[in-house]
Structure formats: structure tokens, C-alpha cells
């Protein structure tokens, strides 16, 4: 209890920050595993090594969050097999097993990173000191991943726009449906298996956040990411309109 009173204003704040860190660590570990699997889909030796380097980057992010959690005595729960994270990992693996580099890039670097960058930024803005720095600097690094893969995906789109858009549409519904259910006002597919007790979504106001704004910002960043790749707005609006809400 001593650490708690030293670092947090209230038990509610302690609990919600514990859940935020638990989600972030779980997400980073998913990212790490995804990049490791991704390296298997790549022919080019340099790109292969780069994927492992990215996996290592995600490992370092997870370690950074874990170190802070340990220091401040947060109550962390890591679960890579919960009903959302587990399904996301399954979708990713289904493409990694087919050696589909482009699909893997789309899932990890665009869909998951859009949510990570946006949500880390929102969290970073309301937390203080070291926690703030941690979230904002990791958001910045994840953003670089997004930009890097946007280049690759943009040139892929140019090769055969119709096929590319058809493919991304399928992946969008497979992956974004899960993220959309996960981030909805109430969990649309049951408890996430990460948060303690009830979902932290209902307690975000203790740290000055709310799930509607966080989700809205994340979907907006995703829409912009699709724009940057060159997906017509006409398509992205249709895809997003058809997600569960």
C-alpha cells in the first residue's frame, strides 16, 4: 500500500493505470510475436533482419512499460490469448503462415500501429512525468514504423490497385472488426481477459480519458493511414461504416 499512496492519487487511478499498462504490455508482446513471425514471410535477407530488429524494438517497448510498472508497483496482468488479442494474433498468423508479407504489414504496421500510436498519444497526454515520456516516445517510434510501411504499401497499390484494394478490404474486415469490438463503449465480445475486474473503459475518467474519444481518434488515424497508402476515401468510409460499433 505504501507504493500506491506514493505514486497514485487514488485506488481507482492505480487500478486504471494498471490496466492501461497491462494492455500496452500485452499489445507490445503481440507486436513482438507478430514481427518475429513476419520475418519468416520475408525472402530478402536484409528485410528479414529488419523484421527481427522491429520485434526487438517491440520487446524493448514491453520492457520499458514493465520496468515502470515494477517500479511503481502497478498490478499487471499479461494475457496474449484473451478474446481480442488472441483473435488478432490468429488473424495475423493465418497470413504469416501463407508467407503473405503485405497482409502482415497491413495488420501489424497499419491497423495495430494506428491504434497504438493514437491511444499511446492520448494516454501520454494525461499521464505525468516518466509515464508520459514513456508513452509519447513509444508512440513516436511506432509512428515511424507506420510511415516506413506506408511507403511499401503505397508502391504495392500502384502495381495493381484493384487487386490490392480488394485484398486490403478483406483484411480490414478480419482485423478491424476485432479492434472495433474491443474498443467499443462496451466490449462487444465479452471481457478482454486483460483488465482487472470490469473493463477499464468505464474507469478511464479517473485519469481524464474516455473510451469514445480514444476510439474516435484511433479510427481517425487509421482512416488517415489508409489515405496515405492511397486507398480512396470512398472505400475507407464504406469499410469503417460497416464495422461493429
Amino acid at each position: 500500500m505504501e507504493t500506491l499512496t506514493n505514486n497514485f492519487k487514488s485506488i481507482e487511478e492505480f487500478q486504471v493505470i494498471s490496466d492501461v499498462f497491462s494492455q500496452a504490455i500485452t499489445g507490445e508482446l503481440i507486436g513482438m510475436s507478430n514481427f518475429a513471425s513476419l520475418s519468416g514471410t520475408i525472402e530478402d535477407p536484409f528485410e528479414k533482419m529488419e523484421a527481427i530488429e522491429h520485434a526487438n524494438g517491440e520487446r524493448q517497448h514491453a520492457e520499458g512499460f514493465m520496468a515502470y510498472a515494477k517500479k511503481t508497483g502497478l498490478n499487471i496482468n499479461i494475457n496474449l490469448n484473451g478474446s481480442y488479442w488472441g483473435r488478432i494474433r490468429d488473424v495475423f498468423l493465418s497470413y504469416a503462415n501463407k508467407n503473405d508479407f503485405i497482409a502482415c504489414l497491413m495488420i501489424q504496421e497499419v491497423m495495430l500501429e494506428a491504434f497504438a500510436v493514437s491511444m499511446y498519444t492520448d494516454v501520454g497526454r494525461v499521464l505525468e512525468d516518466e509515464a508520459q515520456k514513456l508513452f509519447l516516445s513509444i508512440a513516436e517510434e511506432e509512428k515511424e514504423h507506420m510511415d516506413h510501411s506506408t511507403e511499401i504499401l503505397r508502391s504495392e497499390l500502384k502495381k495493381n490497385p484493384d487487386d490490392f484494394i480488394r485484398k486490403i478490404e478483406i483484411i480490414h474486415y478480419e482485423c478491424m472488426t476485432i479492434l472495433s469490438e474491443f474498443s467499443a463503449r462496451t466490449d462487444l465480445s465479452g471481457h478482454c481477459g486483460v483488465c482487472h475486474g470490469d473493463c477499464m473503459k468505464n474507469s478511464l475518467h479517473h485519469i481524464g480519458l474516455d473510451v469514445v474519444t480514444m476510439r474516435g481518434n484511433a479510427l481517425a488515424l487509421y482512416a488517415e493511414a489508409l489515405d496515405n497508402i492511397g486507398i480512396p476515401g470512398e472505400k475507407s468510409v464504406l469499410w469503417i461504416a460497416n464495422l461493429p460499433a
Binding site: 497499390l157 500502384k158 490497385p161 484493384d162 484494394i165 463503449r185 469514445v212 474519444t213 476510439r215 474516435g216 481518434n217 479510427l219 481517425a220 482512416a223 488517415e224 489515405d227 492511397g230 480512396p232 476515401g233 470512398e234 475507407s236 468510409v237 464504406l238 469503417i240 461504416a241 460497416n242 464495422l243 461493429p244 460499433a245
Partner: protein, 361 residues
């Protein structure tokens, strides 16, 4: 599919007037096999959405020429148009302009609220090649032609009429004021800011125009034979209108209509609207979600301004700033519109077509 490879003649940048229309669009494009969403869930997502190009538009001119454009929805929150949200809204308009430019549109018109960014400094747009217009010149044109047309139909002599302009110091209000100043008996001018209103009235008096101005409508309304409402407020209350007063409500949200339609002795129509006689298509065909007029082929003057400039291949900043619209510019664009088969829309209001009004000679 590469956004830069195909060039567009124009872009229309707009926003919706209510969440209801955004909801009907989103539910309309949702797969029939999934549940429609309630408006609050749609707000949760689309209240945050960055501007998006929603559909392409092709229009035919009377001359046989065709122009191609795109509609860009800013996703400005229709419940958040007040000054408090100005920064967010302006940033959305700017993003929409960048998108229009990225889509290689030669000209963009800024419909409804979005025109606000063209009324101030345009320095930030000096590096982009796209031309911009508020569409206010043709809007003013349709408002004024509507008034002239109504006068003919009702046998009213414009030169003997007192014309009240609500929102007289605004861009469209000023355009109407300058167009009408030599054509009417008296101009009655209204807006909220007294200083701006007085300055305008003084300069008109110096030109010999018969003019009264007041920030309070009560003193002006009983004198008015014709009323043009071009403010951006639904809080305007008017009473004591003359019998058979002609009212052109061209502002958004509709300035006067809600309270006035119950009165039998007024003639009220939505002004600033044109009709396209040679057809147009939307692709995808989202017309059912975005079209809610009682007559086919009607569109806002501000939208049609871009179309007409595209037909004329006049890719220029036609209407920019505030108070720059001249009677000549109004006449020119109105003539070009007629040349391409775009005319004044029939009179209607929220009850539907004004039948009597449209048929009476």
C-alpha cells in the same frame, strides 16, 4: 486508381446540416445484413472522422460538354458549428482542401459553413495550386433572380419595394445590398454588430441610397415588402410582417422558416438554389442519402458555382474574401449558368413545392 493520374475539374467541400443526414448515409451504406446503427454510435465514430471524398459527380452542359468532380465531406459536427469549435472546424476544412488538391481537382468550392476559411487570410493556401471559391456569387445570383422572378409572378414592382436584408454585413448580404441598392425603393438592413451595420449604411447614404438599418428587427419587419434572410442563425424571430410579404430564406440553418410557415399570408421559399437541366450522376450512386429536395436536379448555388466555372474552364478564385462580390460578377456567372442549362430552381420550402407560387403568372 492512382490519385494523381486522373484530374478532376472541381471538388465540392461540404458538411451535413444534421446528424440525422449523416446517420441515414452511414446506415444506407452499411451492409443490409447488419444492424443499422443508432445516431449516438455513429457520432462516436464519424464525429472524429477526417474529411473524405465520398463520391464522384459527372454533369452535362446544354452545350454537350461534361465535367467531373468529387464531393468531399468534411465531417464537421453539425451540432458544433459555433465559434467555440472554430479551430477544429477550420482544421477540418483545411484538410479537405489538401485532399481536393491531392485528388488533383482544379477548383474547389467551399459549401455552407466551410466558406469561412476563405473569408479571412488566404496566406496558408498560397502554396497549393488548387483554386478556391466560396460559391457566394452564384448563390447571391440565384437569391436575386428568385426575388426578381417572384416580383414578376406577384406583380410587385421591385423599384417601389422596401427590401429587408437580414445578415446584410455578411458576404452574401453585401452582394445582395450592392446589387439591389439602385433597384429598390428602400433598403432595410439588419445584422447584430451595430458598428459594421452603421458603416455600411453611411456609405450607402453617401451614394444616395435610401437606407434604414437597425440591429433590432422589430422596427424593420413591418416596413418590408420583401425579406432576404442570409444570416447563419435559426434564432431569428420576426413578427408583424406585411400581408403577402415575399421571403427568401437562404441561410443555414434555415433562418426564419420554422416559425413562419404556419402563417398563411406570407410567401416563403428557400433561396440560392439552382436546377440542372441536362442531368448529372453520382458514382457510387449515393443520391438517395444526400438528396432531400422536393424537386429533382436541384443544387445549392455555391455548389453550382464550381460546376459553372468548370464548364467555362475558368479555374480561378472566383468568390473570395468578404464584400468583394460585384453586380457584374453576379450577372456574368448567372449568364454562364443559363448557357450551360443551369437555371433558377423552382420555389419550394420545407412543406414542398410552392405550387401556387410557381404557376401563377
Amino acid at each position: 486508381m492512382d490519385s494523381k493520374s486522373t484530374s478532376l475539374d472541381f471538388a465540392i467541400i461540404g458538411h451535413q446540416e444534421s446528424w440525422q443526414s449523416i446517420t441515414s448515409f452511414i446506415n444506407g451504406i452499411r451492409n443490409a445484413s447488419i444492424e443499422p446503427l443508432p445516431v449516438d454510435k455513429i457520432k462516436d465514430v464519424f464525429g472524429f472522422m477526417p474529411p473524405r471524398d465520398l463520391f464522384k459527380i459527372t454533369l452535362k452542359s446544354k452545350t454537350g460538354n461534361e465535367v467531373n468532380g468529387v464531393f468531399i465531406e468534411t465531417f464537421i459536427d453539425p451540432d458544433k458549428l459555433s465559434a467555440r469549435y472554430l479551430k477544429t472546424n477550420i482544421s477540418k476544412v483545411k484538410k479537405a482542401i489538401s485532399l481536393a488538391s491531392k485528388l488533383n481537382a482544379k477548383l474547389a468550392t467551399l459549401g455552407g459553413f466551410t466558406s469561412i476559411v476563405l473569408e479571412g487570410s488566404r496566406n496558408e493556401f498560397k502554396d497549393i495550386s488548387i483554386k478556391l471559391t466560396t460559391g457566394n456569387t452564384l448563390t447571391a445570383g440565384f437569391i436575386l433572380k428568385g426575388i426578381e422572378h417572384a416580383c414578376v409572378q406577384y406583380d410587385i414592382r421591385l423599384e417601389e419595394s422596401n427590401v429587408l436584408i437580414i445578415g446584410a454585413t455578411g458576404d452574401i448580404g453585401l452582394a445582395c445590398t450592392h446589387y439591389l441598392k439602385q433597384k429598390v425603393s428602400t433598403l432595410l438592413l439588419n445584422a447584430r454588430n451595430q458598428r459594421r451595420l452603421e458603416t455600411l449604411a453611411t456609405s450607402l447614404r453617401n451614394e444616395g441610397v435610401n437606407v434604414f438599418c437597425d440591429t433590432n428587427l422589430e422596427s424593420l419587419v413591418p416596413k418590408a415588402d420583401i425579406i432576404i434572410a442570409v444570416a447563419s442563425s435559426k434564432d431569428i424571430l420576426i413578427g408583424n410582417t406585411k400581408n403577402n410579404v415575399i421571403i427568401c430564406d437562404a441561410g443555414y440553418p434555415k433562418n426564419l422558416e420554422n416559425r413562419l410557415l404556419k402563417k398563411e399570408d406570407i410567401i416563403l421559399f428557400h433561396g440560392g438554389m439552382g436546377i440542372i437541366n441536362y442531368g448529372y450522376t453520382f458514382s457510387p450512386n449515393y443520391k438517395p442519402f444526400f438528396y432531400n429536395y422536393p424537386v429533382d436536379n436541384v443544387a445549392h448555388g455555391c455548389v453550382l458555382e464550381a460546376v459553372i466555372l468548370a464548364f467555362e474552364k475558368k479555374y480561378e478564385n472566383y468568390s473570395v474574401g468578404k464584400g468583394n462580390i460585384t453586380p457584374e460578377a453576379i450577372s456574368n456567372i448567372y449568364q454562364w449558368a443559363l448557357k450551360h442549362g443551369v437555371e433558377l430552381a423552382p420555389f419550394y420550402n420545407s412543406k414542398g413545392l410552392c405550387k401556387l407560387f410557381n404557376t401563377k403568372v
